[in-house]
Symmetry: C2
Subunit: 225 residues, 2 copies
């Protein structure tokens, strides 16, 4: 059992963070596997399937970490199933390009968000979060595919720009819902009586950073944000 | 470049065998990933996703082997995409149980069939085929889940038995189609002027073995075949 996450009510927050992250990765696996089905060719199908498999290995790494912490990993995941499922149900890509934009823009926001939160936890958890959130090459793959599609038919850019905005909106809605329901996770950011969190100014800067990164990703895709 | 598969017109057949097998594994990945989506709980979803990931690693192993043989693996796969896609389109599971039966019964027939064919190729190919066709624990997992479902509601057994027969029928239809279109692959079994294959009696025994194994699997599930 790892004890370094037990001080200052920190442990429940780390469990929540890892539980949410684990289920997010499992659903990213499912989403990418479904995207692979829409691929225009066998090599592209395999490329996206490979990304899905990498997400699943991240899921396993996080579940192992929860087990090492002496936690039932399935219980840690359970509180986040509904919100994450809900996000995916409300953002089902209709075609290959929507799937790619979601993989890049949606996962990008999630990555930024988890990395920001990880700044408030112990170093071991932090490095696990950074490792599972690292870009696995999907950025270049998606950017090339989307830019090529826009060159071939410039009209798709309007539809995909709207899609990108919808993804951000749904992600924020579900993140807020989780924040309201899970005190431990929220207290990581805003602090608790015995442990200071980010002040309001820092929270503002954090959301600004996440928004900036989103805009940068949309730019790279050739889409207005 | 590996040369041991080049004698007696053997090499094109091995390429066909590996190409068909590779795409079969990639589609097994997709199928299992979609099945995982229908899982009644997160741990079951993860268990099936884990099977999907194992299939993808098999796909990669076969693609690597084709590359080592000096073959463009995507070209080796191409002739089999249509038949295998067609099989999956015609056998889309409607629910979690149909998905499980397909994973066990459908993959089981494919495994038996590829293992029988592998008896006619070089040893290296043979051991690769055996390795990627090994049971990864899906048998026990599926048998338990299906038997539990039948105990809870005996009426599902009739529907699943019909589903099992449908899977065999579609698998045979597509296998026959591939056999007719791919001379090299068919010649592995029936032989060619300079290399004897199985005689008619042996072919008969082979199909009897495949049928027996199918019946045994249906029995294990508690379904009539």
């Amino acid at each position: 059992m790892i004890d370094d996450a037990q001080d200052h009510g920190h442990r429940p927050a780390v469990i929540d963070l890892l539980g949410a992250l684990a289920y997010g990765e499992l659903m990213a696996f499912s989403q990418l596997a479904a995207d692979a089905e829409m691929a225009p060719s066998q090599p592209e199908k395999a490329a996206v399937a490979r990304l899905a498999v990498a997400e699943f290995h991240h899921y396993e790494a996080i579940m192992d970490r929860l087990t090492m912490m002496g936690v039932d990993p399935d219980e840690a995941v359970a509180p986040f199933v509904e919100a994450i499922d809900h996000f995916h149900e409300r953002t089902k890509p209709k075609d290959w390009l929507e799937g790619l934009v979601k993989a890049y823009v949606g996962d990008g926001i999630a990555q930024d968000f988890y990395r920001e939160i990880a700044a408030y936890v112990d170093e071991d958890t932090q490095s696990l979060v950074r490792a599972v959130m690292a870009d696995m090459g999907q950025a270049d793959f998606v950017v090339n595919a989307v830019r090529t599609a826009i060159r071939a038919d410039p009209r798709v850019s309007g539809r995909l720009a709207l899609w990108g905005r919808r993804l951000v909106g749904e992600a924020l809605t579900q993140a807020q819902r989780v924040g309201v329901e899970r005190d431990a996770l929220a207290s990581l950011l805003v602090g608790s009586p015995d442990r200071p969190g980010a002040d309001l100014a820092e929270l503002g800067r954090m959301f600004a950073r996440i928004t900036d990164e989103h805009t940068r990703r949309m730019d790279r895709l050739g889409l207005s944000s």
